[in-house]
Homo-oligomer: 323 residues x 2
């Protein structure tokens, strides 16, 4: 669907009518009455209704950057919600409320925006999220972005990036690489229940969601003076359309939205992996181990072992500014 | 300062270094260690540390829209914080945490971004706000925007837009109009302490912050079947550089960031106004009254009275999409 229209576009509506239209497309996800939802200067949340740990994250989708003009606007709207849910999942929490703020040029098509908003609403319903606020701002030229701030909560101890120790096992919840080429970046399911399962287990020493690729994200779990030893043969690569992602793709492509985590070396991994499989019908992928660096060069580095050869990984994963 | 640079720009830094640089410019406002601040997938807030009513709002500043290339980036960064604080103030709450999400083209100058970030940090410090998270996304072409999601809290009953009754007095905390022309949109001080004072008084029946002009915002306070009768001579107009805002400017220009509120007809207004003046050294401006509509045409309308003539106001205030 074309995101732009010369006549049936947002410029034909007042801001108030535009917001009312978008909210109607959110469906049940926008059903909270003001002041607990949109419609006043702020949305309200009763502190009494909150669990121990509240977490907050913010991520956007931008037309031409996180999705293309030719992509389904419904899936783009779902992606906005899901990529933020993935951040909440990596803490072992559950989402509950969101604020959605759009920058939108006057020529954005209303039909296209309807479909985008329906995608947001559909994903919010799936993850029990209420959209409680946000705003619209206008810019010239063909432009559309929406930033979501997502609030989550849990009674459990959140999974953090820090906490991995020497000997801990490095795992992912799914296959990696070629997310854009395969369309996975639009159709993925964030690992929400898996994150909660990890937090409940008490056996996960650190966790992050794979958004920038293994090459970038795994570095965030490494304690000082340690390295990550990865067995090339164990890194699961995405297969699609008779093709297979490359090992470089697993490190660099990004947007896998799998959980990357470390499992305590003192606990029974096989038992845990079996329980996980019984619950989710999918395997955990064990890809390596946290090790003491063998030289100062290996400190905070990723070491790939293939055919008994040790190779330091130099490519660093997706970076928004340096490519 | 030029927002763009061909060599000393954000494209020379990795995203990690860019975020570290920006956080260092936030100063004390970014000092929370992860996971209570930036640095993990989400920021954490302890629910136990929160007061009864948590409120959440989200608003952006966009280069070329909410500030110009020639404006001070420090003041633009302050404006981002202050316009969100103004929303929190209109609920009678105080802010505590913020997430800041930027969309930023690679050619944005680092010096310019430093000054913008310092402005954010300076305003945050003034209002006791910690910046606990956010992100950077890159787009092509000359572009810069930052969305802030601001969380506030109060033990008091929040001031809402709904609650005005027939006979209530309509007031503002300051002069109106010509906000862009006079530079007020960059230099204003949100009425934070005034909002708290209003909530504590228990005498304010409804409240909103004036961001889209009296013509748009006052309509949000009108109960069904009522109108707002305004005395033209009582509407305070901004004076600057030997000029004075027009009455039309007060209704349409927007970005006044004053509180617009209704005072209960059953209470002693003069006593309240005196206490307010004693506390803030500035007057409250009484501009009109909530009245029963005299005809169906006057329902939910703004009626301006000048020289005993009643005139229905047709201009509706600033709208992002229809001008």
């Amino acid at each position: 669907m074309n995101p732009f229209s010369t006549n049936n576009n947002v410029a034909t509506l007042s801001e108030k009518k535009l917001i009312a239209r978008v909210c109607s497309k959110f469906g049940a996800s926008a059903s909270l009455p003001s002041p607990y939802g949109a419609g006043d200067d702020c949305a309200l949340i009763k502190a009494k209704s909150l669990q121990d740990n509240v977490c907050a994250t913010s991520d956007a989708v931008i037309l031409g950057r996180h999705f293309a003009e030719t992509d389904s606007p419904f899936l783009a709207g779902e992606k906005l919600i899901k990529r933020n849910v993935s951040d909440i999942a990596s803490m072992g929490a559950r989402p509950f409320s969101a604020l959605a703020s759009s920058i939108c040029s006057p020529n954005i098509s209303l039909d296209w925006l309807d479909a985008f908003s329906e995608g947001m609403g559909s994903a919010c319903e799936r993850y029990a999220i209420k959209i409680i606020g946000g705003d619209f701002a206008s810019v010239k030229d063909d432009f559309f972005s929406t930033h979501l701030t997502l609030l989550g909560q849990t009674t459990l101890s959140p999974l953090l990036r820090t906490g991995a120790k020497e000997g801990d096992i490095i795992c992912t919840t799914g296959v990696l690489g070629a997310s854009f080429e395969s369309g996975h970046h639009l159709t993925f399911q964030p690992r929400l229940e898996q994150g909660v399962f990890f937090a409940e287990s008490g056996l996960i020493t650190s966790c992050i969601d794979l958004s920038d690729g293994l090459g970038a994200d795994l570095r965030n779990l490494l304690p000082d003076g340690m390295c990550a030893e990865l067995l090339e043969a164990d890194i699961p690569l995405r297969e699609f359309d008779g093709k297979k992602a490359s090992i470089r793709g697993a490190f660099c492509d990004g947007e896998d939205y799998e959980l990357l985590f470390t499992f305590s070396s003192k606990s029974n991994f096989d038992k845990f992996a079996k329980e996980y499989f019984a619950k989710f019908g999918e395997p955990i992928f064990r890809i390596g181990e946290i090790k003491k660096a063998k030289s100062s060069e290996e400190e905070n580095a990723l070491i790939l072992i293939s055919n008994s050869k040790r190779q330091k990984i130099d490519f660093v994963g997706f970076d928004h500014y340096i490519s």
